[in-house]
Symmetry: D2
Subunit: 291 residues, 4 copies
């Protein structure tokens, strides 16, 4: 018997473009006698069914499983809204395998059947919590499941910033930016910036400089419970911007401080049995099975 | 006897901060009986001497040598304004060796003395000319001595663009951007992006992708007379920006085309005898003399 | 009418494994009334046909076209033996596209038909000539079409060596080695070592350090007519080895000097019409047509 | 009062070259009334003092502190011999700061005085234990504090090998080699190969491919308790070699398997108060204090 009774669906917009996948899913949930809540991201599809969509806040509080239908981007957005709840989440892709959305549409009946029978893998993924400090005030607070990216706002200059970890001064560097990522985020933007792949079970955070002026400013990997502080230096004529999972963002001023720690509650990922991280890695990075 | 009679001075602003260096220079030129024109960048210093500064246009047309006092950035700015004249240019740094400003203040009397005696090295450096096309119209035309940098405008997304060289399709890539640089520019921003060092005498242009999504999108070096075309793809929700030597820049729209060719007239660099490119490279990249 | 009358065939060994491809080829040449010489690399196949194979020396002197059947490695080996002759060479792969062997077996009749009708592209590729000097004597002389690779012989230590270009001191570095490559070789071993892609028409040579101790020791690209000198330092307890196209090699002692220049006669590559370098690049580097 | 009563000295050979540093050290230990054992690496110095050197085995069993005088290489050698004992170890450099030998000769009296007063920092560093399997037999067993490096033996070819982690297949790759390193080793050879910097307190192991043929084969960081298996593929005409801290090594045959796990007992590093990892990092990587 499944422990999941009330299922929330969060969907890549416009949801009607995913109508076919959603129909298979909704029918399966019905047959199983499970209650389905359609998130506001599925408003257009809900309207067609004559159902009222559920606001995200309500959905994340009342569900005991969230299913995301979309790409990794849709998943990241959903995950951040689950940060303060302990609802597990499962990802269905739209035909193209993702790191987080690892169930393909054609596998829905079989794979979800097994999940609802209690036959699944649960995995914890680190979430970062960031506070932006300005003049001793917290002016913003954000979650990120992939990465917190400090970046120059105006492309024609580098920014200068000072990094400290657990109160210890690391360096001042000039660069286009710095990606602070979780293991989940290590295969996203940080990889393009030259960062290493961190296995999802590794309790670590990586700092990957983007186009650093000093060539020996290399990616640095620190323990997962580190507190990372980045302070904008005072001489950045064009100042920076900070982005969260490449989705939310905020402009910075000189002397602003970005404080990053892991969030106490991780994201609970649900995979069907047979989940194989390295298989996804090989597929996404186009590693030959046989070179 | 020197072939240089009328010398223009272009200075990093505010020029009064470089007063000491400028005084040594102006006095030397006077003693030599050479005519000195102060560029408008030296307006504050000129005012103090009771001289009228010369507009840049006039200066570049009437001088037979331009001396730049400042950093490599000041030099690049000066060089672009010399693009359509064949005036040689010499760079004096403000105490910190540059790739282009290779005479240090304390060496001015000796080194410039020799230059005015006709004892110098002249070197040609490639200049790029870029046209921006929109809907079959040229909407902008720019020079660059270091690099033409296409970059995403909004940091939270990559841009997608198509590159062709001499009419041949190369690839479509998703990245933060692309640096198209001369050998001179290969040790500037392109190096931070993972590009190779191109010796200044090499007749080549490098294309260095910035944080490319596909990890095998590596720097590409092509012949110096290549015509490089970059077309913004039509699906960039946040479009790009293009910068010239990191100084001028212009916003782009989807489907805009950037067309880059070498300018027919190179920049004529004047170095004192003993100029040694590899010496500057070792100093700037902090290569040990003995590891 | 074709200008090629006497065709030499050089084959990846054992040639009998390529019997099917060779038969198609030999038959086509016969039908065309062209004379075919089988290289000693095809000795087993020649024996089966009851023909005497031609020694390589004789073959390269008497043919007016050499066809190589194999992979890029077979082609490189053949090309080096053509260094002092001006015989053009064409490459047929064994089912897997190569940078140099760009005609696939199933295309033989059509593509070679056109080539023999005079409808082809001829391209020149740079060849490097290396002399090894020890105590003022030349102790070895080698050709390379891809690369000259200096490498530590015993993997547990780095080597130290001094590089000069055109008589100018560049640096002393400690590394696993250094790859000196032609544009042709830039997509081979040098690429794995972090080097740039050099377009085949670029008149350049690249120096790519392998695992350099100093992180700012980056790939350097110099003009194609540069003379590159690498001197083994005197303190290498385990000395180096130098390899040519990864095929020939020679052990080095401390103080040995490697002198590399371009060979005056380039290799003449024959491609069928429609040859497209970037197409091969996209295929080999697995660049998506649409990311 | 110090808890250290019997101190072993291990020295870079020939020890007599470090006579001055050793004399200061021996005198300090005498004044403190501590017993000093001179390792066989200091045999020449011991002879001069008329003392009998102590065999390494005996020394590591009977000391309660080992002091290493030399470079990081000397320290690694000493540390491996301490693998099965729980003796703490402290490093004195010979004038050039190392990652492991962080006390400079001139600081000996002050810093060691404080250490012997019980005023020090103790830090645990991971040690790797490797078994080499051939035909179901263990043919070798080695320790490494920095890294286990698989490398091609003959430089002119790549090797092919299959990696699994905790029994899960990761990939088959062709490369010059693979470095498996601890956080301590991440700033040694692995860094030259493009690996990330791992903070010493991170419980992780990194796998850094050396010159991989597939450009997306990037460094991978896994949890510190992972079991890493590397199997030589069966088609390596020139087979591999495996090295431990770049000091011990062993030749491999096709189908040999390298099995790497962390050793249950870590190395106990003793630092004087004020030890600052990032300070050493900045010094060794030549990061500017102010760019």
């Amino acid at each position: 018997m499944s422990s999941f009774q009330r299922i929330g669906l969060i969907v890549k917009q416009p949801a009607l473009q995913q109508e076919e996948t959603l129909s298979i899913l909704v029918q399966l949930l019905e047959e199983r006698g499970l209650e389905t809540l359609l998130d506001e991201s599925a408003a257009d599809y809900a309207r067609q069914l004559g159902i009222k969509p559920t606001p995200r806040d309500e959905l994340t509080q009342s569900c005991d499983l969230v299913i995301v239908v979309g790409g990794d981007g849709t998943f990241l957005n959903a995950a951040r809204s689950l940060a303060d709840h302990e609802v597990p989440v499962l990802g269905i892709n739209l035909g193209r395998l993702g790191f987080l959305v690892d169930v393909s549409p054609e596998e829905i009946p079989q794979q979800l059947g097994r999940v609802f029978n209690g036959d699944f893998i649960e995995e914890e993924r680190k979430l970062l919590k960031t506070e932006i400090h300005r003049n001793d005030e917290i002016i913003g607070s954000f979650y990120a499941m992939n990465d917190v990216t400090l970046h120059v706002r105006d492309v024609v200059r580098m920014i200068e910033f000072e990094t400290s970890i657990d109160g210890q001064y690391v360096n001042i560097q000039r660069a286009d930016g710095l990606v602070v990522c979780t293991p989940t985020g290590s295969t996203a933007y940080a990889l393009s910036g030259g960062g290493p792949i961190l296995h999802p079970t590794l309790d670590a955070i990586a700092l990957v400089p983007i186009c650093p002026h000093t060539l020996s400013n290399r990616p640095l990997v620190v323990a997962g419970d580190s507190e990372i502080s980045i302070r904008m230096c005072g001489n950045n004529r064009s100042s920076g911007q900070v982005a969260f999972d490449g989705q939310d963002n905020m402009d910075l001023l000189d002397e602003d401080q970005i404080l990053i720690r892991e969030h106490p509650t991780p994201i609970r990922l649900i995979h069907p049995q047979g989940y194989d991280y390295y298989h996804i890695l090989r597929a996404k990075l186009r590693w030959s099975e046989q070179p």
